[in-house]
Amino acid sequence: MKEDAAKICRRLLDSREVDGVLGLEMVGNIPTPKVFAQADDLGRFEVEPVFPIVTLLRNIWPFTGKERIALVVRGCHELAIKELAKREIVDLKRIHMVGMACSEEQARTCRCLRPYPTKTDIGTKVKGVEDELAKSLRKMTLEERGRFWEEQFKKCNKCYGCSENCPVCVCEDCALEDCAFVRTEGIPPSKAFHIIRAYHVADKCIECGECERSCPVAIPLRSLQRMLADDIKELFGYQAGMDDRQSPVVTTLEDAPLKEESE
């Protein structure tokens, strides 16, 4: 896999299609993010494990001075970039995406429904995996679900990993850090923390699972996002990353109104 990826990236750099490649470099045994400027540097190029490459792209690209950049994207990464492009936070014309399908094991770990990008350059497509936890949560009564999350949220130590690593959580002034909404004192934080975080990313979450992966206490946030994505699809017929339209939560006049609205 990584050889295939390196080969493609080398070609892109050699042909000057891009002037940088964002990816991982093995430093000893540790895969470390790096912007590769030379084809020759790609010797220790690495594509595993999954890491928040889009968050990284967003955060470091402006400071690299690179005009066009290539990166290896998984299914979720591609969608995240599309969401960012919609908000003109990144410019699609300046990004070359090398599509990589995830392995079966990765898909299972991520409980991912679409473990491949639109165009697959590397790897073989495998089938999506249902999120069984989300399914079982749906079947619970409200009280059961409430107790489940109550237990989970008790573990939270408010490290902000879920929001810091999220590719689509883009605010400068995060409401979660605003004491008006989430009181500063106290760990675990109040439910406002979790409700507002989920609400803020709801219409742009592409279910990469970075929030869950980043969580040191293993709160199954991905399942929450899964349920929420279903809600949005049901309510507005909208899928973040898949739809080219703007989020239905902010627009109104062009898209179809909710049933109640059209009355």
Binding site: E88, I89, E172, D173, A180, H200, Q246, V250, T252, L253
Partner: protein, 558 residues
């Protein structure tokens, strides 16, 4: 500097005081942070009440005022004025409603109502402490206008504005002024012929000093009220000018009903406008049948085109006047001779011998013929009988359909079209000639099929509305508007999508994309605020901090 808040509680005679213990609320208010004075009046809104508020502001050096009384919807301006008269910014004022929202709805619960009034006052005090002075600013208006479309609507609007002394550009895509009316054979309700009518109006247009651009096409329109840049191509030559307002009068077209009732197949099946041309030339049409609602009031095009019945009535009369021996039958589903004038014409038409028969949508007339159409058969609704009507000429009354250019213009002006493709006004009832976007107006058949008097009225109305900013030479912008903190804005565009007025745009500041509110367009609804996760966009007078300070009053103990 610490705020110095004055709180004034109104008895409203017995209206508040009977339920709420006003003295107790005053005592409580005086304990609240930053309150330097708390007082009560029998009627705060009376001359005495307002006078005493003003006096106390000066005497105690009060710089923010809370009045707890009735409703801001009627009385806020009064107290704001009082604040201003006493030398403090009129926006450093908060109104607390303890009458409609307290004493009057909790009449039997004096104690609870008093407690509630205290909390409401506390919320008001919390908010007022955080208010900042606001100014209603002004933005200049270029004293000229562009009218798009040179039919009778466009000409009327242009004349009206030019007569009021404003430079007015009239932009017509064709080579002469006059629109649909110039091609008519006769004009109801007028003595003059359409040509005379149009000629008089053209002369008036020229005489009033309107700058007429014929064979001209709109290339681009940018800007906002008071400040539009219009680019046109006049006979292929580009011209640019600045205007303060734009009036859209692009009219509509008659539907050509190809395929319906043999239209396009038989030479003697024509539309009303084709009939008008024949009649104008004095051609004979012989026995005539007219079918109403061809291509209208049916699935696919549901609307009624409003003017076709009167056109048919007019033309039926003209045929009889030219050829008294001809028989004229109008086949219709409803005769739309609304109002007094039209109904009188309909009545007269029947008296003159025009026959009116009804058909239904379910059972449309059928045309028969070989080289020419010869007769129609129909199920007459009232009689419930089959009738065959032979004729020399079959005239189809077709609806006006939207101008195909509407889509292009819509995008440039950032205004909406309705489901049928006509322009959608700001409010169907009360703002019929305005758009939600300030400074852009609509009249005539571009908005909806209308007869000549209606078009002229609408054109006048649009001119009146357009003249308001032109006369003032400036527009007052709302004080309660949205503002962006450019240091935290990420330029995500949520607010832009949310704004119904197109008041927000992305600008580049030091290489960063940020949202910016155009105060001349912002109406102060705050919908954008609700869409900004960042809290970068705030509504003056209703900021996050201010609203939260009020919420905090409810979550904290008393």
């Amino acid at each position: 500097m610490e705020p110095r808040i004055g709180v004034f509680i109104c008895h409203c005679g017995s209206n508040i005081a009977n339920t709420v213990d006003v003295e107790e609320v005053v005592r409580y208010a005086s304990t609240l942070p930053d309150v330097v004075h708390a007082d009560h009046n029998m009627y705060s809104c009376s001359e005495d009440g307002v006078g005493s508020i003003k006096a106390k502001i000066k005497e105690k050096g009060i710089d923010r005022v809370v009045v707890a009384a009735c409703t801001p919807r009627t009385h806020e301006p009064l107290f704001r004025n009082a604040c201003e008269a006493a030398g403090i910014n009129r926006y450093l004022f908060e109104f607390v409603n303890i009458r409609e929202h307290c004493s009057w709805i909790h009449m039997k619960e004096r104690e609870l109502a008093t407690e509630k009034a205290k909390r409401l006052v506390r919320m008001g005090v919390a908010k007022v402490a955080l208010l900042t002075p606001q100014e209603e600013s002004e933005s200049p208006v270029v004293k000229s206008a562009a009218v798009i479309g040179g039919g009778v609507s466009g000409m009327t609007a242009a004349i009206s504005l030019a007569d009021q002394g404003f430079e007015t550009h009239l932009i017509e895509k064709g080579s002469e002024l006059g629109g649909l009316v110039k091609d008519l054979g006769a004009l109801f309700p007028s003595e003059s012929t359409p040509l005379e009518f149009v000629k008089t109006m053209r002369d008036e247009t020229a005489a009033s000093g309107v700058r007429i651009h014929l064979s001209s096409e709109i290339k681009d329109i940018q800007g906002y009220i008071g400040n539009f840049d219009v680019t046109i191509s006049e006979n292929g030559k580009e011209e640019k000018f600045k205007v303060g307002v734009v009036i859209t009068a692009t009219g509509a077209d008659e539907l050509k009903p190809v395929g319906e009732y043999g239209y396009g197949r038989y030479p003697n099946v024509i539309t009303q406008s084709e009939l008008e041309k024949k009649l104008a030339k004095g051609e004979r049409v012989g026995n005539t049948v007219m079918i109403q609602c061809v291509g209208a009031r049916q699935p696919g095009r549901e609307y009624c085109s409003r003017i076709c019945c009167m056109t048919a009535i007019k033309n039926a009369g003209r045929i009889l006047a030219l050829e008294p021996k001809s028989r004229v039958v109008v086949v219709h589903r409803d005769i739309m001779s609304y109002n007094a004038r039209n109904e009188a014409l309909y009545r007269k038409s029947m008296e003159d011998g025009v026959t009116y028969l009804r058909y239904t949508l379910e059972d449309k007339p059928r045309v028969e013929g070989r080289d020419r159409a010869e007769k129609i058969t129909l199920r007459e609704e009232t009689l419930d009988e089959d009738i065959a009507l032979p004729f020399d000429t079959l005239v189809l009354s077709t609806p006006l359909v939207p101008n195909p250019d509407n889509g292009k213009l819509q995008k440039m002006l950032k205004v909406p079209l309705d489901r049928d493709g006509f322009f959608l006004e700001a409010h169907v009832k009360l703002r019929p000639v305005e758009f939600a976007t300030d400074g852009v107006f609509i009249c005539g058949c571009a908005r909806w099929p209308s007869d000549v008097p209606e078009c002229i009225s609408q054109a006048g109305a649009a001119a009146a509305k357009a003249s308001i900013p032109l006369r003032a030479g400036k527009v007052r912008t709302e004080a309660i508007t949205a503002e962006v903190d450019e240091t935290t804005c990420t330029g995500c565009g949520n607010c832009i999508a949310t704004c119904a007025y197109g008041a927000i745009s992305i600008v580049e500041v030091e290489g960063m994309r940020v949202a910016r509110v155009n105060l001349a367009q912002c109406k102060g609804c705050g919908a954008c605020v609700g869409s900004c996760h960042n809290g970068s966009i705030q509504q003056r007078g209703f900021t996050e901090k201010q609203l939260i300070s009020m919420i905090d009053c409810l979550t904290e103990g008393d």
